[in-house]
Symmetry: C2
Subunit: 206 residues, 2 copies
């Protein structure tokens, strides 16, 4: 791609470093900004710079926050006995959207993945162990992805917590609500058979 302007080329170069944004898309986005009023570009730049320089991670759960302790961790109506362990902030948002969880979170910041150079030291596992050792936590729900990396991370956390009193559970794997059996893969279907629950208790779910 040959550009008629160095400024344009620099903007496209920077934009195309974002994941999933190729140079053609980057050019389209940058030309869109040029057609919009100047304050729109100002606001975009400003909000990105603000976010990057002023963002705080909650010192308890490591969720993104505007305050040293996030709103969830500082909410007295949420139980500190129940902690849900997730990979990143998007998982917190997804679980919050269900309205089903009244405990607190622990955001690992990823999962153990030697292929991507992510070991246990890169994740907030040590601080999870310390949180549990303080004694308030009764149950830990491991809510990581149902992938090999997720399973590895689950197992690593489980081993680190051996000798503590905490109950460790994982979220249920099974057929998604609304799905047809015939389209489910056999591993999921197998797990949903093994982890079957009494019909009467399924009636109590909403």
């Amino acid at each position: 791609m040959e550009f008629s302007s160095k400024l344009l080329e620099q903007a496209v170069d920077q934009m195309s470093q974002l994941p999933g944004i190729g140079r053609r898309t980057a050019l389209r986005l940058v030309l869109h900004l040029l057609r919009q009023p100047e304050h729109q570009t100002e606001q975009l730049s400003q909000s990105l710079t603000n976010l990057r320089s002023h963002i705080i991670f909650c010192e308890q759960c490591h969720n993104i926050s505007d305050t040293p302790v996030c709103e969830i961790c500082s909410n007295p109506n949420r139980s500190s006995e129940l902690i849900c362990v997730v990979e990143d902030i998007r998982d917190v948002m997804a679980i919050e959207a269900t309205g089903q969880f009244k405990g607190k979170y622990h955001v690992l910041g990823g999962k153990i993945s030697p292929m991507d150079g992510v070991g246990p030291g890169e994740l907030k596992i040590q601080s999870l162990v310390e949180r549990v050792r303080q004694g308030e936590v009764k149950e830990l729900i491991l809510a990581l992805s149902a992938t090999m990396e997720g399973d590895t991370t689950n197992f690593y956390i489980y081993r680190q917590l051996e000798g503590t009193e905490v109950d460790i559970s994982t979220i249920a794997r099974g057929i998604p609500v609304g799905d047809e059996l015939e389209y489910a893969d056999e591993v999921t279907l197998g797990r949903s058979l093994q982890d079957r629950i009494p019909f009467e208790s399924s009636l109590k779910r909403n």
Copy 2:
């Protein structure tokens, strides 16, 4: 979507105003920036702001430029007698990439589209007419999209230039090189039959 941080929400709001970027994608991009070193966000913001505030449009062809007259317009090896009329800068880049065009350009900034509120007054048509009236231009190649809006714009320009000496041509419509006949739509195939060229002159093309 409920955010745990106002700063994050603002960044996602701004990012999702870009075309084709929904709120989920915006969140993914913003979280990616948070995981990268701070200088990457700085550079992105800086290059967008720089582009928006310092960009110049060439006073002759209206292409994006770093100088008052762009590199193409100020190149003495390019003919001022042949002008290719295009919609936007991406078309200039596409035609430059062919290496087949040795004239200069005129960037309209869009095409006439009443549905989108774009009339002739929003486009650089008047300055094209003035360029032609100055007398140096011998031929105008209309290279707009083969759509109704493109055809309308072509016709409008043609009418505006009635009474001038300039030759007006349009780029050839036909079967794309490398395509099978059976997959061509009937309008394109029809046009390629009507606009057939002597076989011997086709041999001279590369």
